[in-house]
């Protein structure tokens, strides 16, 4: 079991999850909208398709941060 701090820029919470679950299944379970922002796993941007990989696939065995960063339009 790993601890995942999950959320958005402004709203985060910590949940314990099976490291062999996919990132997508955890985001869905926690009602995190990942369609409007950029997903970051421990600060690194997730690429298309990586959302269907498991935490274990990324070598996470203890804890991590999974944050959906929503950017405002004024960032020019």
């Amino acid at each position: 079991m790993i601890k995942v701090t999950i959320g958005t820029n402004t709203n985060r919470k910590a949940v314990n999850v099976d490291p062999n679950r996919t990132i997508k299944s955890v985001l869905d379970e926690q009602d995190i909208n990942y369609t409007t922002g950029t997903l970051h796993l421990d600060g690194a941007t997730l690429q298309p398709g990586e959302i269907n990989k498991t935490f274990a696939d990324f070598g996470i065995t203890d804890s991590c941060y999974l944050i959906s960063v929503v950017k405002a339009d004024n960032a020019r």
Binding site: K3, K13, V15, N16, D18, P19, N20, R21, T61, D62
Partner: protein, 131 residues
């Protein structure tokens, strides 16, 4: 209370809760599968249990990946071969002690919730009429 057995370089932790009961709670009362604590005014999961396909025992929880012949959830892990036979018990207590402590506490919580859930199911079944 969970039981821990060391056989050679393998350690097996057997829960006092059956796999079927884990499945029932995961479906109807998933919050019962986690111990919670309040951190900075926010309720967080302290320790959780789940059923999965690969074993995992950490300070955050346990993923049970099998069941014994009586249906109780089990997880089997390897002890490094470099640990001498007489030091394995000490290794297990040191490495998994915190998780086992929390597991015993969580099993107590689960037993209470299961008793309530069974009563709820009896009430639900009584309310279903087959016409």
């Amino acid at each position: 209370m969970a039981k821990t057995k060391i056989l050679g370089t393998a350690v097996t932790i057997t829960s006092a809760v059956k796999v079927a009961d884990f499945k029932t709670l995961a479906k109807f009362k998933p919050t019962a599968l986690a111990l919670t604590e309040v951190v900075d005014g926010v309720k967080e999961e302290k320790f959780s249990v789940a059923l999965g396909t690969s074993p995992s025992v950490t300070k955050y929880g346990i993923v049970f990946d099998s069941a014994n012949t009586d249906g109780y959830a089990e997880v089997t892990l390897q002890i490094p071969a470099s640990i001498a036979a007489d030091k394995r018990k000490e290794y297990v207590a040191d490495t998994y002690g915190y998780a086992l402590l929390n597991l015993n506490q969580l099993e107590g919580q689960i037993a209470e919730v299961m008793a309530e859930t069974e009563a709820d199911f009896i009430a639900i079944n009584d309310g279903i009429e087959l016409v």
